[in-house]
């Protein structure tokens, strides 16, 4: 989660700055959290996406001006279902996408609860985006665009209606978040606990430099 600059990266573009951010997804089960990520990261969509199993940690980069923003995306792994998300999930998150299903009013209500939860638990500077997903099913909508927009404005959230199926606004919402995130070294470094990650070492006597920068 530490903020790293270009030259430290072997494959980085020469002088471009790379900022890494932890982004968490929140929202009721089956609103399409994993589908949004799958569309964003892999450009794929599966009509009958299984409940999240086996892929709960993905990365994807977007470019904003001269900066490459790398998202480390955390999916809930289903732990939201019985209100069992661990505090670790929110910890150090610099961005969040709260997802609801435009055809299901209850999921919009739950989204508001998640926003409150983030305001309570997450770091105060977190960038929150609200995504009204399944916009391709607008003919069955039960949450009006204006209603969600007004709520988002009141709470200072980014807002878009998205469709993981048609790819509508999927890249756009991540890009909007990337633009809003603070990219100065000072700000971006804040969320990290400033420890190191452990990695496997070939020899047991590997020095500390084998790990991520402090």
């Amino acid at each position: 989660m530490a903020n790293r600059s270009g030259p430290q990266r072997p494959n980085g573009t020469a002088q471009a700055k790379i900022c890494q951010f932890k982004l968490v997804l929140l929202g009721e089960s089956a609103v399409g959290k994993s589908s949004l990520v799958l569309r964003f990261v892999k450009g794929q969509f599966h009509e009958f996406q299984e409940s999240t199993i086996g892929a709960a940690f993905l990365t994807q980069t977007v470019c904003v001006d001269d900066t490459t923003v790398k998202f480390e995306i955390w999916d809930t792994a289903g732990q939201e279902r019985y209100h069992s998300l661990a505090p670790m999930y929110y910890r150090g998150a610099q961005a969040a996408i709260v997802v609801y299903d435009v055809t299901n009013q209850d999921t919009f209500g739950r989204a508001k609860t998640w926003v409150k939860e983030l305001q309570r638990q997450a770091s105060p500077n977190i960038v929150i985006a609200l995504a009204g997903n399944k916009a391709d099913l607008a003919n069955k909508r039960s949450v009006e665009l204006e209603e969600a927009q007004a709520y988002a404005e009141e709470n200072g959230l980014l807002f878009m209606e998205t469709s993981a199926k048609t790819a509508k606004n999927v890249n756009e919402i991540f890009l909007a978040i990337a633009k809003k995130l603070p990219k100065s070294d000072q700000n971006a470094g804040n969320a990290s606990g400033q420890g190191r990650r452990l990695v496997e070492s070939e020899s047991t006597a590997k020095p500390a430099s084998a790990c991520c920068s402090k």
Partner: protein, 442 residues
Amino acid sequence: MDEEYDAIVLGTGLKECILSGMLSVSGKKVLHIDRNQYYGGDCASITPLEELFARYKSPPPGEQYGRGRDWNVDLIPKFLMANGLLVKLLIHTGVTRYLEFKSVEGSYVYKGGKISKVPVDQKEALASDLMGMFEKRRFRNFLVFVQDVKEDDPRTWKDLDPTNTTTQQLYTKFGLDKNTQDFTGHALALYRDDDYLNEPAMTTIKRIKLYSDSLARYGKSPYLYPMYGLGELPQGFARLSAIYGGTYMLDKPVDEIVLENGRVVGIRSGNEVAKCKQVYCDPSYVPDRVKKVGQVIRCICLMDHPIPNTKDALSTQIIIPQKQVNRRSDIYVSQVSYTHQVAAKGWFIAMVSTTVETSNPEEEIKPGLDLLGPITNKFVTVSDYFEPTDLGGESGIFISESYDATTHFETTCLDVLNIFKRGTGEEFDFSKVKHELGDEEQ
């Protein structure tokens, strides 16, 4: 929850979370329940600070403690050995990606009323104030021998067979005096009492190697500590279990473990019954299937300064070998600080713990408390240590032991691996963990 599971895990302490992760990874359908609203059980890190004070029925903390939410106070003090089993588990399962660690800065041992840095290599041995000049040379020879020993290569054993020699004989051969034996056995090999002297020398040699290999890995000390406290560890393994399909329910009372002909068939919560073939749990969920075999005392101390005489270390471990204070088991002191995101700026948390030997356990930890300097507030817990009386073969109920007084997670991991084997009939196969959980590069 009215479904059928391969295994239901009760309690979200570290052992249960590792087991849950291993079972899910092995393809089992797992339901994981905790009666508490939070993850971690006895291994939780309590936050905010108000919660800790309330837990010990103290009046709320004053303003000098800063923001309550900046505190994550461990209930059980332990460090990770950098080259130990838990680190291996973290790396092989990929759980390490959810966590960040810091090296513990200092490792000290108590002798004659004061503390000294634990010498681990030849250079430190020669500089140490723990030994006289001739003793230093003998200890140096001992260390060189230990480093060269390879378990599977008798040529490295010199003229001593460590598999057929006791540790006491090994010490005698190198002419180490009682003091040197004391810090070698307790601060390097990390034995809790002196029973090991009659154990094979090879076991002791391997433990000293674990210490020095761990030290070699990140320097300073062989210990690591996770940012935001030890409570992050169970959460990380719970996430692993969830990623592999495990279902989580917190704040869910467990009213009955349902048996048929002495074998578990499910658990009941209120009117709901979840069916299962096996139950894995901590002792608190099955009081009639465990026996108390001892007690551990742990004292949490909040301080606005580091432990004196540790060069202002932001994290430290001090071992007080039993003989130094006329006891049968060692006293352990550990300290972490605001730099680990477990306390508000400027604050330190020290823990003093030991296996209880008398009817006045608070008096027993006094030598540890005396090393700390002024303590702003302290909270004492005496907990019972339970072992299962039912090993699960008949009942299908697999119970972990309580957390012991050791300062690291080696015994914790051994218990977990043992339970996994009892429950599944096989050793845990690390290759079952897909390394491609995501496309994260290292």
